[in-house]
Assembly symmetry: C3
Homo-oligomer: 276 residues x 3
């Protein structure tokens, strides 16, 4: 049985090793696999995005343990989420929000059966003391309903979807900046259909305009400084530069607004329009 | 069979991959699992602390390979440690000291049976050439006594335990600072029983006084700047701040002294006392 | 079946997790193992060096997925390499060059059988959409010839071997600098036989001369500032300092020239000659 780990613990401390040890002590046959431990500390939205980008690649029955948990030890609830054919274990603080958005079948259980916890339960490390052992027990065949009570008032972050403004424009945002400086926006193909790109849509961020849409990073390019948009591998429109950091050129931050404007005017500083 | 790796090799080089390849070439059925490779280069004490914080979470029979080895290639001995129901393989330089402190049953073997090494043995990478292959052979069922001769003069670091001063105070130290800036002290519940906290014990570090003891990070707080003490998940008292780095506020370093003073006086700049 | 991953993706993003999920969805019995994800972004040579340093430690049949792929989405070909008793899957951009140099039996297949890809194939993430699923299918028993057509014009980087100059000297280069600041040169024991070291060979880099050859890092040393040469664990001569960064002392960069000069003259600032 496959158990993945996603945390903001980094890899320098004992935290991740302890979680793996707990899982394997309870289910020696589990396969434990790291998604990432480099979610920025306490950044629930970043954890939620990464889970969204990755979970559908995993086989049915996979159990994802997500721990970005600034409220550890307080009254925030530990939960198990059964969504589609996969499982998620972690704090009820919005970390699984984008799974709730994507999946039609979602059940959330408040983890209350303390006999499945590691004892004593510390006040500061529920990844080791609650989430890892519950995931391991689940992988051993324990039923969700045995682990706690179903709830419906679980915490959700604001939806990712861009907002339409009256004039046909969209207000979206930067939801992730990756290692290469590519800026992932909240814009999906549903938000920006191909016709609209073909008829001259453009993106505006920090007063810079991006009107060049390309199919891949290494398409023929005038220079490394040109910014362009491309459908990224997580399913969202990304603003990128060839072998260069778009984020640095745009001085972009996660959370920042990106506007999608309608038909383009010919202005001298626009990028070359190539089309999808 | 479970084999864990803890090193100061980082993850950017070929070192860790080479160790995994060696293990799996000797025992294709081994499960190899990373604890961390981010021990600060050559910092034996940091490696010893992380092993201590994590090893008891692992199932009986787990083999931990620890490589923080500034003396590689010199006359420092390679050893196998059988402690409690677990195994440790690495250099005899103090890296396993805190395991020796915790476990009552400890046997240490000097690894001299070169037929279990990878040949040729390089002068600079015993992680690959001695420790990984010996761990793999052990996981294949080779007996400890076949791997080398038992020794009793193995290297130990200074004990972690705080020192009592005549006036009832304790002199402890910061033994680890984690990713979140939490400062782990060498103080255990044995050193500082609950009665003493209740009667007004306080910590002094860098002339700052911490007199607030809390049960968890997110307990109701006046501000993010308040420093408080909490029993951490590794079994030691930690000095922390809510969603902030206590280490930065205290300008604390690993190795630094923390004093535990007796009954508190009412001074205006003390934190709010809440009690455990 | 063992599948290793080497990329320049870092570990903070969803990229590595997605590749693991794809592999395990296609072959749930595969063991997926990280070599490193910290190859500097787009640095094909660095990826090629790390693969070279590590692949021979792995058991026969291991499948190595290498993704350092600045040309992703362009016309560069995806390939499968069958070399010796191991497999390599990734872009045809020189990443497997040093494997071609080392192995006598090399066959390269252009991956054209799209039925083994993940669909839709994104323009930007062939690690997930081509290389991971092809590796998983290979581990399931699919034959190389079924995955694509054999080619002979695959891309090769310049050879690693140092160049001889007329006067018997060699011009080599720094091919890697590791976490500890050790500088790996392109010099092998074939290039610099023991007799030549014994008769006074010395290295010159950035106008500094290194004439001290030692067997291991911790051999008796006058000071931490002394630079010396040692045969490193990847099979190349390294310039190192004891518990200090040789790279910092030399201001060395990867790609920089290192000259091997013949018999040494006695100059006052030479290191102590100890010999191998």
């Amino acid at each position: 049985m496959l158990i993945t780990l996603l945390t903001d613990f980094g890899t320098a401390d004992y935290f991740v090793g302890a979680m793996k040890g707990v899982v394997l002590s309870i289910n020696p046959h589990a396969s434990v696999l790291d998604i990432t431990h480099e979610i920025p500390p306490h950044d629930i939205q970043a954890g939620a995005f990464t889970l969204l980008a990755v979970y559908r690649e995993f086989p049915p029955g996979t159990i994802h343990v997500g721990v970005v948990d600034p409220g550890v030890g307080s009254s925030r609830r530990p939960v198990l989420v059964v969504a589609g054919d996969q499982f998620f274990v972690g704090p009820d603080n919005g970390l699984f929000s984008y799974i709730y958005e994507r999946e039609t079948s979602v059940r959330v259980f408040h983890l209350t059966s303390e006999r499945y916890f590691r004892h004593p339960v510390s006040a500061t490390f529920h990844g080791r003391d609650i989430f890892a052992p519950v995931a391991a027990s689940l992988s051993n065949g324990v039923e969700p309903a045995e682990l706690g009570e179903e709830i419906s008032d679980f915490v959700r972050l604001a939806r990712l979807a861009p907002q339409a403004s009256g004039d046909g424009n969209l207000t979206a945002s930067i939801i992730h900046i990756d290692r290469f400086g590519n800026c992932v926006t909240s814009i999906t193909p549903q938000d920006l259909p191909e016709e609209r790109i073909a008829s001259g849509a453009r993106l505006v961020i920090n007063r810079k305009e991006i009107a060049s849409f390309r199919r891949f990073y290494a398409e023929e390019l005038p220079s490394a400084n040109e910014l362009f948009a491309v459908w990224g591998s997580a399913g969202f429109l990304e603003i990128v530069a060839y072998r260069a950091s778009a984020a640095r050129q745009l001085n972009a931050q996660v959370g920042q607004t990106v506007e999608v404007k309608g038909e383009s005017q010919d202005t001298p500083d626009r990028g070359v329009k190539i089309g999808v």
